[in-house]
Subunit: 135 residues, 2 copies
DNA sequence: AAATTTCACTTGCATAATGCAATTATTTAC
DNA sequence: GTAAATAATTGCATTATGCAAGTGAAATTT
């Protein structure tokens, strides 16, 4: 538990992972523009830390040398179960403060495995387009 | 997600909850003696924060005026699903660094609901002895 | 009853992390 | 060539953390 929390137990790390897992934000600038307003230095540090931990990796953007496309490794994708439980808990106990977006709300009523497979499929499709397609 | 992480997204909070949920540490001094070595000021702060968030509460120890018995509310107990997923993820992906204690290892092979019910039953028995018994 | 110990904190202070704004280097667009 | 976009980095103020020591009340020992 403590070792896992060394990696994912801070305010911003799981938000970066959420961007990659659910929101289709694969670029630095997309994550920087997120509604929570992460600072550029924090984002930069978290991306490096997550890369070092083997949770994310990246390829060069096919249209630009300077842009990078970040995406989750399987180690990162497996965090979906934790993410889902956090969302379920927040929905149940913080429902006055929390609004789960409608387009993802139905996830909460699905079995975890179904959600995981849906997410995995979506990420695989993205990878096929941007990673598989460019190699 | 962000709101939940404001509460539980830090290094020590989930460790305090783990103490209350799995390790039967219900007193300040028990948590302070934990193997991770939390500082007294940090522990004090986290207990207050968790109490303020409605995740834990406490009663006076039946044998002493100064001692307190902390325990989880239902809001706190429901974090068991997140805790279990964190443990599963760590076991799968950090297995070189992580040793799951043998006396709790079998939890990883059980369905989440079974684990939750086991934990809930154990906590209810504790509460019946220390809370119900003293009122 | 006086002295000691236990307990749940609190305080002081050094170090580290965070947050914001501005800057930099490189790449792309015009 | 000039200007804009991108992925960072730097400087600096504020905040959080970590350690050691201290505090005051309650319990225990003598």
């Amino acid at each position: 538990m403590a070792c896992a929390l060394d990696i994912i137990g801070d305010h911003w790390t799981l938000l970066v992972i959420r961007d990659l897992m659910f929101l289709g934000r694969h670029e630095y600038k997309d994550m920087l523009a997120g509604e929570e307003g992460i600072s550029s230095n924090i984002l930069s540090g978290r991306l490096k830390k997550l890369e070092g931990a083997g949770i994310i990796t990246f390829v060069q953007h096919p249209e630009s040398k300077r842009r990078k496309l970040y995406y989750l490794t399987q180690k990162g994708k497996d965090l979906v179960y934790i993410m889902l439980d956090v969302a379920r808990w927040a929905d149940k106990h913080l429902d006055d403060k929390v609004v789960i977006p409608e387009d993802r709300r139905f996830f909460l009523d699905m079995p975890a495995e179904t959600v995981a497979n849906t997410v995995f499929d979506k990420l695989a499709a993205w990878e096929k387009e941007f990673i598989g397609g460019s190699l």
